[in-house]
């Protein structure tokens, strides 16, 4: 699991950086140190993904290993199979809640290469993660097709190929405030949703959506006002 690897990696780096070496010369030191890593379920993690929060949280669950999983098939606790309508656009906001449970502000976003590119064909399904109920930034709704404060988690409308955070949200399309829109201070949260254009496809499709939280990308002026 990626997160586990990361935590171990970060822990090791921290130990290295903090190991102050004295002035005495030595050729070699072997020092064993213990790194305790606790892996929590998504809901309790530093970057909390809580499938119990949100008006459409019935479509998200926590797997046995604690990972949030979105399943636009059946509502949790119900047997009836369902799904999105073919040849239709379905928007499901608030599938789960993303909360910063760390101690620093972070920018949370979705790299565009983790979702599908905008399809050339009407037959292909297209999804775009939507972030709503953002606590920061000055977004005002600018497109009639949007009916809340939702914006693409990639930061750019129709830019699924976007992979560079530097490109995020850098035009005035949203009348927003760039990365600030995607910043969560300690204890703050926003909601993850989906825009699904089923096209004419009748396929059942599974995507791996990558969520990235990074403190080094927080705008310098965040929290000034």
């Amino acid at each position: 699991m990626e997160r586990r690897k990361f935590l171990i990696g970060a822990g090791s780096a921290a130990v290295g950086a903090s190991a102050v070496i004295g002035s005495g010369a030595f050729s070699r030191v072997n020092a064993k140190r213990t790194v305790d890593v606790s892996v929590a379920g998504d809901a309790a993690a530093l970057l909390s993904l809580d499938s119990s929060q949100g008006e459409n949280s019935a479509y998200s669950t926590q797997t046995g290993s604690g990972e949030v999983k979105v399943d636009i098939d059946r509502r949790s606790g119900e047997d009836a199979s369902s799904g999105v309508n073919p040849n239709a656009v379905t928007r499901l906001f608030q599938l789960f809640r993303i909360k910063n449970q760390g101690t620093q502000p972070v920018v949370v976003w979705t790299p565009g290469d983790s979702i599908t590119p905008y399809p050339d064909s009407e037959d292909t399904m297209y999804i775009d993660p939507q972030i709503s109920n953002r606590p920061n930034g000055g977004y005002t709704r600018s497109k009639p097709a949007q009916f809340r404060d939702e914006v693409s988690g990639t930061g750019v409308y129709n830019a699924a190929n976007l992979t560079e955070l530097g490109d995020i949200y850098d035009d005035d399309t949203y009348n927003g405030e760039g990365l600030t829109e995607f910043t969560l201070d300690t204890g703050e949260s926003f909601d993850f949703g989906l825009y699904v254009d089923a096209g004419a496809s009748d396929a059942d499709t599974t995507y791996n959506v990558e969520l990235v939280a990074s403190s080094s990308d927080v705008p310098n002026d965040f929290g000034d006002s």
Binding site: R3, R33, G41, L49, S81, S82, N85, L194, T206, V212
Partner: protein
């Protein structure tokens, strides 16, 4: 979730030997999560769309609701309509409140199989053909009160589990040329959480 796990999580960068690293600061996390999306037939989908009557004016074809006005059965001999009409008249407004030969009211019904209440309406993006000539304008209306459902005049709230919203089609052929080929009209059935 218990408190212990949080504490353990926050302290996860603590090494033994007293090298306490600041609690809970994390500089970067990447997490891959799975999103599965199933496409269902209109009759099974989140916004359930079903035909009413079996006269062919409405039907589910390839999983999607579609309409033929008049229906093929109507325009052929020896079928539901002995008059065998070949089409709608021009410069007219028609309302189709039930299928050909059907006793049941409504051409189709809308049911909410999602999680949130919605209001429903119809829209039509294109009202002219590629040459700029008018094509029929098709709206949906609520059979129970005759109200045409538009973005400005949406249906009553349709909550999950409510009785289906039974609808007919209103067709406006003003200025539409008579032609042998069918007009292909694409309408959109919208459902949106109220008060947005």
């Amino acid at each position: 979730m218990n408190r212990r796990t949080v504490i353990a999580g926050l302290g996860s960068l603590t090494a033994s030997g007293g090298l306490a690293i600041g609690s809970g600061a994390f500089s970067s996390v990447r997490a891959d999560r799975t999103v599965s999306i199933e496409t269902a037939r209109d009759s099974d989908a989140l916004l359930r769309l079903v035909e009413r009557g079996s006269g062919g004016r409405s039907q589910i074809d390839g999983g999607q609701l579609e309409f033929d006005l008049p229906s093929l059965e109507e325009s052929n001999e020896d079928d539901t309509n002995p008059q065998n009409p070949q089409g709608l008249g021009t410069d007219s407004i028609y309302r189709f409140g039930r299928d050909a030969g059907a006793s049941q009211s409504g051409l189709f019904a809308v049911e909410n199989q999602g999680t949130q209440p919605v209001r429903v309406w119809g829209s039509q993006a294109k009202t002219t053909d590629k040459n700029g000539n008018p094509i029929p304008e098709v709206g949906i209306y609520d059979i129970s009160n005759g109200d045409v459902l538009t973005a400005q005049n949406r249906s009553d709230v349709l909550a999950p589990g409510d009785d289906p919203l039974v609808c007919g089609l209103r067709v406006d052929t003003f200025g539409v040329d008579v032609q042998d080929d069918d007009y292909d009209v694409e309408i959109t059935i919208n459902a949106l959480v109220p008060d947005e």
